[in-house]
């Protein structure tokens, strides 16, 4: 048989202490008050808690004020006042945060920005998809070729590779032919040679027809960088042209998003300041 105090302790654990606190604060009326009084009458711990809370409240009310003053003068100097009332664009920004339109405008701009970025990204994906399925003009051929090489489209790569690599034999055909055996060993190790560096993604996808040209590039130490650079610049030019096609919408959307978020932050700060 459990001890009586153990039973009471278990009962107290189930009691609503907030009810006792509300009773101690005098905030209860009606049935709540009756229930709280019954609880404190029937439970010694609730009764002790009630008395303690009343004592704490009384002690808190009697806490003395700080006897020393601030020791500091909080009056504003003319310089501080001038800095707190900014002029020019800062005033414009501040007045923007003051108006009731700030939050709706911020939400609208942010929404427009997010939507614009989503649409721009989707259209970019659509453009990329259509460019992958349709043949491209010669100007963008390098980029298209590389992109297709990534997915292993050997036929396109083989068609484009001679165009891209055409300067190599013309520039140093002799050097290429002289160094060809050495380069062949380099080309034999996929992904480790210069050819692997220049067309890293094309190691497995480039058909045998284009291999000698790649070997030629890899084999000519002095001139090997030239086609590599050309290829790289061709690739970056291709990316740039594609980014130019979608950048206006994305840029405008990003600007709208930034301004919208800034307005929301401004409105939030102002709310925090004034409560």
């Amino acid at each position: 048989m459990p001890h009586v105090s153990e039973v009471r302790a278990t009962d107290h654990d189930r009691h609503d202490l907030m009810l006792v606190a509300a009773l101690a604060a005098g905030d209860l009326a009606g049935t709540d008050r009756d229930q709280a009084i019954a609880q404190t009458d029937s439970c010694a711990e609730c009764s002790a808690l009630h008395d303690d809370l009343v004592a704490i409240a009384q002690a808190t009310r009697s806490v003395p004020p700080p006897i020393r003053g601030t020791g500091r003068d909080f009056r504003l100097t003319p310089g501080q006042a001038a800095s707190l009332h900014p002029s020019g664009w800062r005033r414009f920004v501040r007045s923007g945060g003051r108006g009731a339109f700030t939050r709706p405008l911020g939400v609208a701009l942010a929404t427009f920005g997010i939507a614009g970025i989503l649409i721009g990204t989707l259209s970019l994906g659509f453009t990329a998809g259509s460019s992958a399925s349709a043949p491209q003009p010669a100007a963008a051929g390098g980029a298209t070729t590389d992109r297709n090489a990534v997915v292993g489209d050997g036929s396109v790569a083989s068609a484009a590779a001679p165009e891209v690599l055409r300067p190599v034999p013309a520039a140093s055909a002799a050097a290429a032919s002289a160094a060809a055996p050495v380069a062949s060993s380099a080309a034999a190790a996929p992904g480790t040679g210069a050819a692997g560096g220049g067309f890293g993604t094309a190691d497995g996808g480039v058909p045998a027809a284009s291999a000698p040209t790649s070997v030629g590039i890899a084999a000519a130490p002095s001139t090997a960088q030239v086609p590599n650079q050309e290829t790289t610049s061709t690739t970056s030019a291709g990316d740039g042209s594609s980014s130019r096609s979608w950048s206006p919408l994305l840029i405008v959307s990003a600007i709208a998003l930034v301004i919208g978020v800034a307005l929301l932050v401004l409105a939030r700060r102002r709310e925090n300041e004034l409560g």
């Binding site: 809370l53 704490i56 002690a59 806490v63 700080p66 020393r68 003053g69 003051r98 409560g275």
Partner: protein, 219 residues
């Protein structure tokens, strides 16, 4: 005698008209009337008028904030920031009590600074360790009573320092500053029920912290 301000107000209150309710309410409280006049002048660019308001309320705000933040330097910073904020936002004042408006700004400044420094806890409430304060001598100048009172206040302040900012602010505003629930709700921007809940929970938390020292408070 007939010219006394009290009598003037009493005479004016008798023929109260509905349309005059707002202006009469403001005029009833000379402190509030003074505050509104100073605020209006400050809005028009009179820095001296604003500084008069600062002088009127800086001690009150400091006494309030010093109980909410860990040290006096932070309290000074909060009060200064509150007056800066009030000056910046003079035109946002929508009427009502200037005192409540300033208190609300100061409380928000204190809360903001507390939140910002949450990750850098400093020594808690050094002024609570301050032995320089002594209760005023009088009937209760008994050394035992004095020591007991001092010890009780130290224990209470130490416990106050450990509860949450929201609970501490509510308890200080209610118990120490004497605001009612509705005023605290307005100042802190929460509902009446939340204010009550914070006070109740805060007292329960204080009781937990003071469990081994409750003999100081009993009897």
């Amino acid at each position: 005698m007939l010219d006394s301000p009290r009598l003037t107000i009493a005479v004016r209150r008798d023929p109260l008209a509905v349309e005059d309710l707002r202006s009469t309410t403001v005029a009833d409280d000379p402190v509030q009337r003074r505050d509104l006049i100073l605020l209006e002048r400050a809005r028009e660019g009179d820095l001296d008028a604003f500084n008069d308001l600062v002088v009127c309320y800086q001690e009150q705000l400091f006494a309030l904030i010093v109980r909410m933040v860990p040290d006096r330097d932070q309290a000074s910073d909060c009060v200064q920031e509150a007056f800066f904020s009030a000056y910046r936002n003079l035109k946002a004042f929508r009427g009502g009590s200037v005192k409540s408006w300033l208190h609300r700004i100061a409380i928000n400044a204190a809360m903001d600074i507390q939140r910002a420094r949450k990750r850098r806890p400093s020594q808690p409430y050094p002024e609570l360790e301050d032995e320089s304060w002594q209760p005023p001598a009088g009937e209760e100048a008994d050394p035992v009573h004095t020591a007991l009172t001092t010890e009780r206040h130290k224990a209470l302040n130490s416990a106050l320092a450990t509860i949450t900012d929201d609970q501490r602010a509510a308890i200080v505003l209610f118990d120490v500053e004497g605001y009612d629930y509705a005023e605290i709700a307005t100042m802190t921007g929460v509902s009446l029920g939340t204010v009550k809940s914070r006070i109740h929970r805060g007292r329960l938390a204080l009781r937990d912290r003071l469990a081994d020292r409750m003999d100081l408070f009993r009897g």
